[in-house]
Amino acid sequence: MLSRLDLIVLLCGLGTFLLRWLPVWHARRERQQRPPPVVLQRLLRAIGPAAITSLLVVSLWPIVTQPENGAPILAVGLALLVMVIVKRFKGGIALPTLLGAATYGGALHFLAGPI
């Protein structure tokens, strides 16, 4: 027997799945008949870089708008700099990500005192 909470969770899951699946299903079906117009192809290719940028901005927003001193902003700057250097010399995604996060935590600890 489903409880009210179970039902809410299941409907949220179903709705989220449909948001992801219906466009895929539709695009595949359309593509079998004809390729999408060039303007749409251009837009869809730009969605990726634009989404990553927007995700970065939104995820940094609560960190850099903390009502403290400038320590979080300095820590973010230092972490991003370390990531650029590591990415240039070592490449990959995982290593720059982990070193960037470690740099942020370490820098914040050093700049703001024991946190």
């Binding site: 009210r4 909470l5 809410i8 969770v9 949220c12 899951g13 709705g15 989220t16 799945f17 948001l19 992801r20 219906l22 466009p23 895929v24 299903w25 695009a27 595949r28 593509r31 999408p36 060039v38 303007v39 251009r42 837009l43 869809l44 290719r45 730009a46 969605i47 990726g48 870089p49 634009a50 989404a51 990553i52 940028t53 927007s54 995700l55 970065l56 901005v57 939104v58 995820s59 940094l60 927003w61 960190i63 973010v76 972490a79 990531m83 990415k87 995604i93 995982a94 720059p96 990500t97 982990l98 960037g100 996060a101 942020y104 935590g105 370490g106 914040l108 600890h109 024991p114 946190i115």
Partner: protein
């Protein structure tokens, strides 16, 4: 099978980001008074980070179906654009996954990682590779949620600078992905997206700013905005 394993390997960076966040989700949900079974159900069927945190807050506050479901769906509406954008990169794949499998795990991080890495995968192997990528990310999300519900007290005693590092894993992942995609090639789109998202964050909740900022940046690439090659990401 080899392509699936490559995809699993490529999901390591997402796993590093997902495990601490999913642990936090499990912890927060336990503190909100939800049962471990219901918490796992949320991660298994909804599988969408930020909206899961909002959902547990709504459930804990006694919100009903008519307020909880539309709120979660509005937060996840940006996912509408991910599938068609991803398909432009998978069109030459020979082994085709059923579309529900291709779409189920299409989270922000999976989409962003796939877009930045799929160019390095042989066209014929792209869909199995993407399946492996999704599988790793989903496994990490479920494993992290389980850890959060079972080991909450132990994890809560981690040094605080480690906690601070964890809060930066997702921004770091997105920045690494951005470096991978090529900032020079997309500079106009990136600048337009950044400015639009920042402006929107001043007046809108973050999930709306995210979706609208992303669209504004992508629209910039249309004729009259940034010119880009259709053969590159």
């Amino acid at each position: 099978m080899r392509a699936v394993m490559q995809g699993l390997l490529a999901s390591l960076s997402i796993m590093a980001g997902y495990i601490p966040i999913a642990i936090s989700f499990g912890l927060a949900a336990i503190e909100a008074g939800l049962s471990p079974g219901l918490i796992m159900l949320v991660s298994v069927v909804v599988y969408a980070g930020a909206s899961q945190f909002v959902l547990i807050a709504l459930l804990a506050s006694g919100a009903g179906l008519l307020s909880a479901v539309p709120t979660v769906l509005m937060m996840n509406a940006r996912h509408l654009f991910y599938g068609p954008a991803l398909l432009t990169q998978l069109r030459d794949s020979q082994r085709r996954l059923p579309s529900p499998l291709l779409a189920f795990g299409l989270t922000d991080e999976v989409f962003a990682t796939a877009l930045s890495k799929v160019q390095h995968i042989a066209p014929a192997a792209r869909e199995p590779w993407f399946f492996g990528l999704q599988l790793g990310a989903y496994g990490a999300w479920l494993g992290g949620t389980l850890l959060g519900t079972r080991l909450g007290d132990t994890i809560a005693t981690a040094p605080r600078f480690v906690e601070a590092s964890m809060t930066f894993i997702l921004p770091a992942l997105f920045f690494a992905l951005l470096l991978d995609v090529g900032m020079k090639q997309w500079r106009g789109t990136l600048l337009a997206t950044t400015l639009a998202t920042l402006a929107l964050l001043l007046v809108l909740p973050s999930h709306h700013a995210l979706a609208l900022g992303m669209l504004a940046g992508a629209l910039y690439s249309l004729p009259g905005g940034q010119r880009c090659s259709l053969g590159s990401t």
